[in-house]
Amino acid sequence: MKRYLPLAALLAASLVIPLWVHSPYALHIFILLFIAVATGESWNVIGGYAGQYSVGHAAYYGLGAYGAFILLNKQIPPWFGVWVAVAISVVVALIIGSITFRLRGPYFVLASIAVAEIIRLGALSWKDLTNGAEGILVSDLPPLKLGAHVITDWNSKVPYYYMGLAMALLCILVNVAVKYSKLGYYLQAIREDQDAAHSLGIPLARTKNAGLVISAALTALAGSYAAFYIGFIEPQSAFGLDVSVQLVLICIIGGIGTVLGPMVGAVVLVLLSEALRANLIAQGLFKLGLDETSPTGLFLKENLAHAHVLIYGILVVVVILFMPDGLVGFAAARLRRRK
């Protein structure tokens, strides 16, 4: 129980942050963080415990986003529509799972990418339903009411903050529950050695599908949430390969197959990409005494922000090369060696 104390403290802190932090930008960063934690933990269920490296989770993320938006446009309230969207992705996950789980290793990875791309192209072409490449904009979300009492009208980021926190927490708790359950043991056995697992009486297809369904449901939930928060979706931002890759990276950077890993990975990646986007590195160098008007300074000021994707990529490669078990795995190994 002791090892969960820091997490409890973290949770308590996150509950009170909006009481002091009012900057919309800061709250925005926290909300991005919650989305990253939720999606990373979702992927971890099937990618981390079962070792089934799906690079097609954008399928579920996008179905969550599109499902909720399309239903909202058909006058179905979000509080209901979200769960319908989640249910749809669960059904799709079962279909995708029963096809792609016949494949092992790299073939499974490729198949998962292909399926997500097929769905993205579907969203692009089925214009009557999805509005095609123009996407869907939801600008006036109906206020959240309890009876006649308006709880929130969505003008502030605070309700999103708490909803995002609740969602991230749900994904973390599901991870803990899965990891220490029979399903978790079975998924990990499949990851370690599929034939050995099979010979110990583990039904491979059913077990993998159970893991995928949980993973897909949580991913879809996060997709719906993100769509409502941003207020706009289009096929690339919902179903794109970069969405799928992002989920995998969160887990790889943090540490695959651990509950803590996706949280660490989410913090690192969200802060890193925001820092690079806002060109904080160049500004930091200027503060350290680099002349802003010198040729180098001008060059950095001009270009570093544009290169944020490149720098992000280089850092990711460095982590993967030198810490193959992610930051959490690296830290755990260090601690063990010190003992």
């Binding site: 043991y185 990990q188 990851r191 370690e192 034939d195 099979h198 010979s199 583990i202 197959g257």
Partner: protein, 244 residues
Amino acid sequence: MSAPLLEVRKVSRFFGGVKANLDVSFQVETGMVLGLIGPNGAGKTTLFNCITGFYPPSRGEIHFAGQRIDGKSPDQVCRLGMARTWQKVRPLAKLSVLDNVVVGALLHTISVRQAREAAREHLRAVGLQARADVLAGGLPIGERKKLEVARVLATRPRLILLDEVMGGLNARESEDLIGLILEIKKRGLTQIVIEHDMKAIVRISDRIVVLNSGEKLAEGTPKEVTSNAAVISAYLGASEGAKA
């Protein structure tokens, strides 16, 4: 006489043109240890794979505990009460030794706590209780072989198939495993044992089946088999056999 626990009827397995098994038949009675021997490439492991559901036989039938099992998947076969070890051990490397056995024990319960209790019992039975919290990938070969046996026992099988559990072990470790096999026999479990070491197989087996080039060459008590001229020639080479 009661029906045999396992009956292999004219089982053949082909890989393209290669006849890995050809019309192999034998029976295993409850409680016995059946030794399965033969030169390298005789088809012993292929036969294990057919019996445990990893390869469907190309021809023939396999009956276990009154049911036809050829064509069933490995997990179905395991749930009927048959479990195997692997010639090349397959520890779940990043799980602890205890958790490896827990995976086996979860076949009969949904409760991880109950499975852990059962797993500790089985670790004690093979003498690995002191290593419970070590990662399975870090065990030396002798202990990995014992872990395979503990994991198999945890599925509470009626029939255990041991694929060269003594392969690569030193004399003392082999002796440990012979003791373990006899101990398991005492509990009334049935075993089929693939082994290269003739001395060991003669000590532990009630009956021995000899495979050669995929076909059954001989079957009988250890004494019958070791004095069989065909077996001697298969093991020692044709000319030696002729002289004998």
